[in-house]
């Protein structure tokens, strides 16, 4: 049940968008496809919706093979980054579209549309046109439109990508809550790891058309399968063959065992969190994440010589196998 993709390949000219991708999305879950641009995440989502035809591979939705089913018959709800609002229709008309296609009778359509508009907090704006709405309102309208036809799965392609930071955060929380209420199997695509971790129960990290790793946010952060995942899911410093998270950097004024000499290059205050940048003896640059309290205790200033002791270190030298060591 849920969504299963098996051995998906897709090529656009010289570009291999999907390179043997298989994923399994449990029924009723909220999954994020996370990756940089060009990683194939949107192509995968569009292939699930039937908007893109796979060169090879299969897509199953709720247990039945949908590979050959056209988008029109897949019963998926799809939300686009740029809303894809029907500009010549009112909000009501947009949300009612799928129901009119299904030839529902007028009274039923009206009830259903208003119920959905209440759900997405747009009741009262039913007679407006999309260009009279804000970005966040348009995206909620698009969501209501997708949900109106009671899709088997809900697919969102960078749904908050075009919105400003504040609205993004609100919608994120709101989507999370909506999913808790509706329990429709949902996949959303994002390049923002914080967003993915905030909203999704399961993350699938993609890179260059392949799945690098999937799991919960905690699993990916604690046990990244390789360098790419480690650096994509959170910040990372590289020390030779080792990788260490900036918050695992221990900064001290005394030299000691396993400590490396470094010079404070720059101190950036980002509110409670402080970013301190260092240059090591060999010229490598690393940074540490400190709290304001820690900074005040150390009384660091730029140009000062300090000693760094990396805590949790990981290396992926042989065959990408994770090696953890606590120094």
């Amino acid at each position: 049940m849920g969504i299963a993709v098996e051995g998906a390949f897709k090529r656009f000219g010289d570009f291999q968008a999907l390179d043997d991708v298989s994923i399994d999305v449990p029924d009723g879950s909220l999954t994020a496809l996370l990756g940089p641009s060009g990683s194939g995440k949107s192509t995968l989502l569009r292939a699930i919706a039937g908007l893109e035809e796979l060169d090879r591979g299969r897509v199953a939705i709720n247990g039945s093979d949908a590979t050959e089913t056209p988008a029109q018959k897949r019963e998926v709800g799809f939300v686009f980054q740029h809303y894809a609002a029907f500009k010549h229709m009112t909000v009501f008309g947009n949300v009612a579209f799928g129901l009119k296609i299904r030839k529902w009778d007028k009274a039923k359509i009206s009830d259903r549309v208003h119920e959905l508009l209440r759900l997405v907090q747009l009741d009262g704006l039913a007679e407006r046109y999309p260009d009279q709405l804000s970005g966040g309102q348009r995206q909620r309208m698009a969501l209501a439109r997708a949900l109106a036809v009671e899709p088997q799965v809900l697919l969102l392609d960078e749904p908050f990508g075009a919105l400003d930071a504040k609205v993004r955060k609100d919608l994120r929380t709101w989507l999370r809550r909506l999913h808790d209420e509706m329990h429709v199997t949902t996949i959303f695509v994002t390049h923002d790891q914080e967003e993915a971790m905030d909203v999704a129960e399961q993350l699938v990290v993609m890179n260059q058309g392949r799945v690098e790793q999937s799991g919960t946010a905690g699993e990916l952060y604690e046990h990244p399968a390789n360098e790419f995942v480690m650096s994509f899911v959170g910040e990372v410093n590289r020390l030779g063959d080792h990788f260490v998270r900036p918050h695992d950097m221990d900064v001290s004024l005394d030299a000691g065992d396993g400590a490396e000499q470094a010079m404070v290059q720059r101190i950036v205050a980002l509110g409670f969190e402080i970013r301190v940048e260092f240059v090591l003896g060999d010229g490598a640059e690393v940074w540490a994440q400190l709290t304001r309290t820690e900074l005040q205790k150390l009384e660091l200033r730029e140009g000062q010589i300090v000693y760094l002791r990396p805590g949790q270190v990981k290396s992926f030298s042989s065959g990408d196998a994770e090696v953890s060591a606590a120094a």
Partner: protein, 274 residues
Amino acid sequence: MTASTPAKWGLRGLAFGYLGLLLLAPVGMIFYKTFEHGLGPPVEAMTSPEALHAIQLTLLMVAVAVPLNTIFGVGCALLLVRRRWWGNSIVDGIINLPFAVSPIVVGLSLYLLYGNTGWFGPTMAEWGIQVLFSWPGMVLASIFVSLPFVVRETVPVLREIGTEQEQAASTLGANGWQTFWRITLPAIRWGVAYGVVLTTARVLGEFGAVTIVSGSISGETETMPLFVAKAFEQFQEEAAYAGAIVLALLALTTLLLMSVGGRKAKASTTKEGF
């Protein structure tokens, strides 16, 4: 950037002067000449059997050529924009042909094709269809010369709206036909409408190609532009000017219908929801 006041007025003066001298003065002159002696003479000139027939025939050209070129134009634009195939650039080039070829040449080529010794002429004659010196030939000529307008006006709009709305419609269960009527066509309606206006104007005013294939027989194969030209040659200035006015009014009516329709559509899109 805001222009200084003299520059602003200078530009405005230039724009109005240019339009006035080159467009308004000639058209205004025609109006003046026509109604110089009141309404009587032009109305009389336009109610002669030949004039009425010419008006009818001109409207027939519009009634046949415009819908055909609109359907073809929208379909062709969809093909050019929404389907990527090797024939695109060839089709794209061919469509511009009527812009590149002089209408007289169009008339001559139709004459060659449908004449007694042409490729299609004898076959058509066998079927009992008279193409040359009859309305079918004139319709063919009108279609030829006005063919690119709807395509050319629709293609950029179709590119601009993108495919996302259509894709959204398909995920909502709409088939290709439903998507076209409910999503694509309303979204490109302005481009299409503008193309229709240009096509209509072109068909109304077509002279060169139609002259050749029609033979310009008074009361039979004479459209309004041919009527005006003949009247002018025969020193019936009243009829010539009146005919010109009728043509101008027909074109204006098309434009007016467009902008009235436009205002209506705009009013409905800006209506508030409270």
